[in-house]
Amino acid sequence: MRAWKELIKGFWYENPTFRMLMGMCPTLAVTNAAVNGLAMGLATAFVLICSNIIVSLVKKLIPDEIRIPGYIIIIATFVTIADLVLAAYFPDIHKVLGLFIPLIVVNCIILGRAEGFASKNNVFYSAMDGIGMGIGFTWALTLLGIIREIMGMGSIFGIPVMGVGFTKWVIFILPPGAFITLGILLWIINSLSKNKSVESHCH
């Protein structure tokens, strides 16, 4: 059951956010509300799955010397498609994520998986890896968004949950809140896991 293993490893044991600490820029920047974290995670997952599949398909056609520029062009193509589709069909989400969509191009996870996994494995496993990593990244960002939204705005996905007497901790939806939340989550997750570090291909 190798396919299953490639799929689920991204959920927890090799979770890109909590175990490999990759793609920290969007993780910290856009997770001030649950819906933003979810949308960013899904957009990244889409790019990751597509680029993993294409990179794995063309890995023998691209000479070693130019594989990085080649991968970057492939990734940038899918990011631009995601950007256009979001702008046309989900203008509200596009407005919030704005600048961070083009920045998916330089997200370490995507190039890291292309270089470290898709360029060495077949299409099926690469797709599984992309889906697993994408889901892992998405739930991590959504969790951060949920925690910061509850603390900072007293709501989840825009629905108030904390009652009227709740004092909003505004710092949680500002940049320092991202570092505080991520730090505490990493502490909890590291103490839950026995193996403290996982080898990754990209830092």
């Binding site: 509300a33 691209i62 000479p63 193509t77 256009l84």
Partner: protein, 179 residues
């Protein structure tokens, strides 16, 4: 020489393929994006000019985007225009509605802002917005005087208030000067 030529050819092919894919993706999404932009504009004009039936653009040589709102009887009852100014962290862009009969501000809609979430972003909240609905053009528009600022966002509140006062005067001058 032969090696680098091969690399150049391969990278060129990859770029061409990518360009082709993007061109078709763009031509597929472009009409939808235009539609969204037009819809947003329409929605915000009808929001700030309640009760109008249609609108038309008012041409002027001052580079202001002004729309005339037309009521059921075919008369121009209000003006909607886009005002831009600096906020706390970046550009603020508003659609402002004016009632020509009562010489009052109907209200505004925030088209674009980069204010602090949770604080300055409340310029888009109803509590702050309501202060401007039904406010006369002649009022002083001073924060802490006739406008209550948002807690923790004095600069954003002041930005909106100043922008409102400045742009109303300007638009009335442009519109009044030509009519």
């Amino acid at each position: 020489m032969g090696k680098s030529f091969k690399l150049i050819v391969i990278l060129t092919i990859i770029s061409l393929l990518s360009g082709g894919v993007l061109a078709s993706a763009y031509s597929f999404t472009a009409p939808k994006m235009q539609e969204v932009a037009l819809q947003n504009q329409q929605k915000s004009i009808f929001k700030v000019l309640p009760g109008i039936k249609s609108y038309r653009e008012f041409e002027n040589d001052k580079n202001m985007i002004i729309f005339e709102g037309i009521d059921d009887n075919g008369n121009v009852s209000g003006l909607a225009y886009i005002a831009e100014g600096s906020g706390f962290q970046g550009k603020i862009s508003l659609m402002i509605g004016l009632d020509l009969n009562s010489k009052q501000i109907n209200g505004y809609k925030v088209l674009e802002h980069q204010e602090t979430p949770g604080l300055g972003a409340n310029i888009d909240g109803e509590t702050f917005k309501q202060q401007f609905s039904g406010k006369s053009w002649e009022d002083p528009f001073k924060v802490k005087d006739d406008i209550i600022a948002i807690t923790g966002a004095t600069i954003s509140s002041k930005a909106i208030t100043d922008l409102m006062k400045k742009s109303v005067t300007e638009v009335i001058k442009i519109y009044g000067g030509e009519k």
